[in-house]
């Protein structure tokens, strides 16, 4: 198990990893950026909603 993982990490951190297999990993990173951006936005909404909920709670008590 260990040597395979090692090889994988060596591949991951070599200079041209992102250019390997026709630069497919660039597409992976781009789609991940989009996902993380949307996730960040959702987390912000989550926080806003939490504030509103707390306001309601304090309002009721």
């Amino acid at each position: 198990m260990k040597p395979i993982l090692n090889e994988y990490f060596i591949m991951l951190f070599q200079a041209d990893f992102l250019r390997s297999i026709g630069k497919i990993y660039v597409v992976a990173i781009v789609s991940l950026i989009v996902w993380f951006g949307v996730a960040w936005y959702l987390l912000r909404l989550e926080r806003k909603l939490k504030d509103v909920e707390n306001q309601i709670k304090s309002f009721k008590s």
Binding site: G22, V26, G37, Y41
Partner: protein, 360 residues
């Protein structure tokens, strides 16, 4: 089962569009293979009169010696058939040419493209070989001639995305980067609609709709810049190459960020909404020339600039359209979804605040 039903009940059609189209875009975007393409050729230069073996390596190809493969060197309308295509491996082949003098003797150097035609379809390497066009001495006899007959090129056999040399697999980014900009523009367009409606009717809900739409549009714009920079690094060589379109997109995002600054800096709620909405209309009026007009008037690394409209047949073929347009629709609907959630939260918040002030 009941819980699942509750989860989806009352979802508007455009939310269904996001839920259904996004997986389609991701699956098609990643799983449909790329067409075959030639990645390298050696030697890269030659002279007329030579009997020369080019060794080519290809990407995603299934060369086979059992099938009929043909190749040509192409110079403008003229082409020269290969004497022999020798397949070495599925990804490697040797093509052998006898190169006669070009009919136009005044040409000293010519950039030739290589076309290889296999049963799976053609592959082209533009500017593959640089040819020195020199007159031959009488001892070399070449029977081949440059002709301008129509080439018999096989149709693409499979459902493939086109192979472009610089881009290779990153052509798939068209489904993840470009729709961000489409969605941003569309969402901003709707925000302008609500801004105008606010200024006419002074309904605070319209102001908040415009605000949340602009927030969602900004998210897409920022993501578009980051993904574009990432894509640029591995195709144009730099994260930010100060390309016209990159710069103008950044400027228009800065203009839009002024909208939030303006709202934050004004304390009077009425002035805040009024000035903010006027600003957003002007910001949109700046966005259109900055992103859609100015980059077309200058040389840009982005496709479709320097005069030609984008999304022509060179940039987007029909197989890509089957994914690209659904992707645009899904991203636009996603933008509206994000904006709507934001709007609903703001609305509840305002209701509570007005209630609080009322009860005090």
């Amino acid at each position: 089962m009941e819980r699942l039903k509750n989860l989806f009940s009352g979802l508007k059609w455009w939310k269904w569009a996001v839920l259904l189209i996004m997986p389609y875009v991701i699956l098609m975007g990643f799983l449909v293979p790329l067409g075959q393409g030639i990645t390298s050729i050696t030697p890269g230069s030659t002279a007329t009169g030579a009997n020369i073996n080019f060794r080519i390596s290809a990407y995603n190809s299934q060369f086979s010696p059992d099938k009929s493969n043909t190749a040509w060197l192409k110079y403008h309308d003229l082409h020269l058939p290969a004497k022999l295509v020798k397949v070495l491996s599925p990804q490697e082949a040797e093509v052998i040419f006898d190169i006669p003098v070009l009919p136009d003797k005044s040409v000293k150097f010519a950039d030739l493209s290589l076309i290889i035609n296999t049963p799976e379809g053609p592959a082209v390497l533009p500017s593959a070989v640089s040819l020195r066009n020199i007159a031959l001495d009488s001892t070399t006899i070449i029977n081949e001639v440059w002709s301008d007959n129509k080439l018999n090129i096989n149709k693409e056999a499979n459902f493939n995305y086109p192979f472009r040399n610089l881009m290779a697999e990153t052509i798939r980014n068209i489904y993840f980067h470009v729709p961000l900009w489409f969605a941003m523009t569309f969402v901003f367009m709707f925000s302008v609609f609500y801004s105008i409606r606010y200024l006419r009717k002074k309904d605070i809900n319209d102001d908040q709709k415009a605000l949340s739409l602009i927030a969602a549009g900004m998210l897409f714009g920022i993501l578009g810049c980051i993904t574009g920079a990432m894509w640029a690094k591995y195709t144009w060589g730099q994260y930010w190459s100060f390309d016209v379109k990159q710069n103008m997109a950044a400027i228009s995002l800065l203009i839009y960020s002024g909208y939030f600054l303006l709202r934050k800096s004004l304390s009077d709620p009425d002035a805040k909404s009024r000035i903010g909405n006027i600003y957003s209309i002007f910001a949109f009026c700046m966005l259109i020339p900055l992103i859609f007009i100015i980059p077309r008037r200058y040389d840009s690394l982005h496709p479709g600039n320097g005069g030609n409209p984008a999304l022509g047949a060179d940039d987007l073929d029909n197989t890509m359209r089957t994914v690209f347009y659904p992707a645009v629709i899904a991203y636009i609907c996603l933008g509206f979804w994000l904006a709507e959630l934001n709007y609903r939260i703001i609305k509840i918040k305002n209701k509570i605040e007005s209630h609080e002030t009322y009860s005090k």
